[in-house]
């Protein structure tokens, strides 16, 4: 198949195929359309769209998953969800994760990116090192930290023992379980945000920075008035990912605390799993799913409208 895209005089014989080709082109378009599009649409509709619709439907029933749903209870499941203390805690925890991501993780990532965006000995190695936690599976990270936090054998315990104190069982107390999880969240994801910022910094127009420097601006002033404003798009993107990621958090919670003790460290997804899936309360779990869906979609739409103008 010739790939030359240049201008070549099209001989007479080729024109005829071109005329025939137009109809042929429409036929081939149709063929491509009918062959290429349906698989994606079918898979997507079957496994993504329909389930959400079904979640809305199932949420009106009290059903344990066997046979067909028969006990219609209307909006009662939603009432149960909103009344339950566990869900309120889970929602608050999700908000907490978002806040921590924005106030601690983001600045940390930014600071590291500013330092590591320059090329110097070991900068690439350090970048890779900081990105590594992001690549590891959440489940493995959770297990590693459940070891570190272990009151008897953990690293934390050893440090305390070295000072002659008894280690706190972080994961076993309702007060500190969430703190423990937040630390792991920051540990795991700061590298990702750092890489985003590095990419943005490296693509940034150096002239603006130089110009400011030449004008006598100090390092901090350059940072505050030139660099960060230029990074706004990336910062917004980073926030978007932090929020979306937090709403989905599950794999980290399970190995660390399973949402406990006493539902204190649940996220909405782990709450869904513990109270919906594990107990096979399909209606109840679906209601939680629908609520989560509404939250995600609302956030995505409002965020895109207010802050971003991408697609």
């Amino acid at each position: 198949m010739s790939q030359h895209g240049g201008t070549i005089a099209i001989p007479q014989e080729a024109r005829a195929p071109a005329a025939r080709g137009r109809r042929g082109a429409i036929d081939s378009r149709l063929a491509a359309l009918l062959l290429f599009l349906p698989p994606a649409l079918m898979l997507f509709t079957l496994f993504v769209v329909l389930p959400i619709g079904e979640a809305a439907w199932y949420s009106g029933f009290n059903w344990n998953g066997f046979g067909k749903p028969t006990r219609w209870i209307g909006l009662d499941n939603y009432r149960f969800v909103f009344d339950s203390r566990g869900f309120g805690t889970a929602f608050k925890n999700n908000l907490l994760i978002i806040v921590v991501s924005l106030t601690i993780q983001l600045p940390l990532a930014l600071a590291l990116a500013l330092i590591l965006a320059e090329r110097f000995r070991g900068s690439v190695a350090l970048r890779m090192l900081f990105f590594l936690p992001y690549v590891l599976a959440e489940i493995a990270t959770g297990l590693i930290f459940s070891f570190i936090y272990d009151g008897n054998y953990g690293l934390l315990a050893s440090i305390y023992r070295a000072f002659g104190a008894e280690a706190p069982h972080l994961l076993a107390s309702t007060q500190t379980s969430m703190l423990a999880i937040l630390i792991v969240v920051v540990w795991k994801y700061f590298g990702f945000h750092m890489m985003l910022f590095i990419a943005a910094l490296q693509g940034m127009d150096r002239n603006l920075v130089e110009a400011a420097r030449i004008d006598g601006a100090s390092r901090w002033q350059v940072l505050r008035y030139v660099v960060i404003p230029l990074l706004y798009p990336t910062i917004k993107l980073s926030i978007f990912f932090a929020v979306v990621g937090s709403l989905q958090l599950f794999d980290l919670v399970m190995p660390l605390t399973r949402g406990g003790p006493a539902d204190s460290s649940n996220t909405m997804v782990s709450f869904l799993y513990n109270h919906g899936v594990s107990r096979m309360r399909v209606g109840y779990g679906s209601a939680i799913g629908v609520i989560l869906f509404v939250i995600c979609v609302t956030f995505a739409f409002t965020y895109k409208r207010w802050f971003m103008r991408n697609e």
Binding site: F66, G151, E166, A172, S173, T174, T257, G260, A262
Partner: protein
């Protein structure tokens, strides 16, 4: 591109291979037993059965206790589900029967069931039909470390009332010994305290009334008092540090290591603690004592009432008939005696309990035989969803995040909602 295609074909081929049928009958047996010595005996039984029944293979699969309870609902929905399942009977069994996932084995077992204790068989009979074969009964009570008690100057045989227990806890703490090890992370070890108090305070009448919704149901006086008494204990801080993060096996290991004086355990956990201790030896027979759950002042329950379990094996729908045959083989005099001799179970086969070697296990067997009211664990008896709420609520009392009143209300609310 070419190799992508090959990969896809290879993957497809794999799927076909995985799905191909095997010539012999496989009986899939899912269990939760941690103790390797006991598992080994079971394996020998399985091999013996295979030898006597050519063409049959018995495949054992293990899931840890909590993981088992959490996954069971989804496991039961799968086509590929195990044929033999572990069960605590109660409301969970009833829910499973209603969901039509269990095999009615009345015919398959026939008159064989007359060899087993009537009470145990009754636990697995619903609507006149037999759904499971019981193999073990158990009682909940305090197992204690005689040496540690002696160190604190506590006489285990004198702990009879609830106040005696609180006293003992105070004395142990004064002697620098952790009074009680508990697996708070799993929650159900904590619910023993609350439920046993309820059994002591109200006995059978209170429970049956609550089931009918009388006297305020589970919000009633008996159950609120249970929470309050439990809170008395919790306020003394008798548990090991970080108890809310300990799984039951870890707590048993802690006890087996001699780090705590007591553990409110299911009787056969006396054997489990041995396997889970760091030195794999745990607390020896002669150093292990047993205290029946104490009676609080004003308790209307009988001293002979017991809280405990009846454990058995269920067969899922569509299982090969060899599954029931294997169960009959497993719950037989010979096997029961072998297990009892090592104090792994309190047998259900009539007469096998003579093989029990440990004094306190024999004691427990007598207790259960004498009991008129053997209450099954609430978290199993009340059904899958309500049961878990009981666990959640009691764990919150222990953690201090719920008052006894709130806990009782939460349970009553869940009970009204149903499963």
């Amino acid at each position: 591109m070419g190799y992508l295609r090959t990969l896809a074909l290879g993957a497809a081929g794999l799927l076909l291979a995985a799905g191909s049928a095997t010539a012999q009958t496989t009986v899939k047996w899912l269990h939760i037993e941690q103790n390797p010595t006991q598992v080994k005996i079971w394996e020998e039984v399985a091999r013996k059965f295979e030898a006597q029944n050519t063409g049959v293979k018995v495949e054992m699969q293990f899931l840890e206790n909590e993981a088992y309870k959490a996954k069971l609902p989804t496991i039961l929905q799968s086509r590929d589900r195990p044929h033999i399942l572990y069960s605590w009977a109660g409301g969970v069994l009833k829910a499973q029967i209603e969901a039509d996932v269990l095999e009615d084995m009345t015919a398959g077992v026939g008159a064989y069931k007359d060899n087993l204790s009537a009470g145990a068989v009754a636990a697995f009979t619903v609507g006149g039909k037999l759904y499971g074969l019981p193999y073990n009964v158990s009682q909940v009570g305090f197992m204690y470390n005689k040496d540690l008690f002696a160190k604190a100057g506590v006489d285990g045989s004198k702990v009879k009332s609830w106040d005696d227990l609180l006293d003992a806890v105070k004395k142990l703490k004064a002697a620098g010994v952790t009074p009680i090890a508990v697996g708070g992370g799993d929650k159900w070890p904590l619910h023993f305290y609350w439920t046993h108090l309820a059994v002591r305070l109200g006995g059978k009448p209170a429970f049956e009334a609550a089931l009918k919704g009388q006297d305020g149901g589970f919000e009633g006086e008996v159950f609120q008092k249970s929470g309050e008494l439990m809170k008395q204990l919790v306020d003394l801080e008798p548990f090991q540090t970080g108890f809310l993060g300990f799984k039951n096996q870890q707590a048993l290991g802690f006890f087996g290591d001699g780090k705590a004086a007591m553990n409110l355990a299911i009787s056969h956990h006396s054997a489990t603690q041995r396997a889970l201790a760091a030195d794999k030896k745990g607390i020896a027979e002669d150093k292990l004592g047993w205290i029946d759950f104490p009676m609080p002042a004003g308790g209307k329950g009988q001293l002979t009432d017991t809280l405990g379990g009846v454990n058995g094996w269920l067969v899922t729908k569509g299982a090969p008939k060899e599954a029931v045959a294997f169960l009959k083989f497993f719950v037989s005099d010979e096997v029961q005696r072998a297990l009892a001799a090592q104090n792994f179970i309190i047998p259900t086969f009539k007469g096998s309990e003579a093989a029990l070697s440990a004094a306190f296990m024999q004691n427990v067997a007598k207790n259960i035989a004498a009991s008129n009211y053997h209450q099954n664990f609430y978290d199993q008896d009340l059904g899958p969803s309500v049961g878990r709420v009981v666990n959640d609520a009691v764990a919150e009392i222990a953690g201090g995040s719920m008052t006894p009143k709130q806990a009782a209300k939460a349970i009553q609310d869940a009970f009204k909602q149903g499963n």
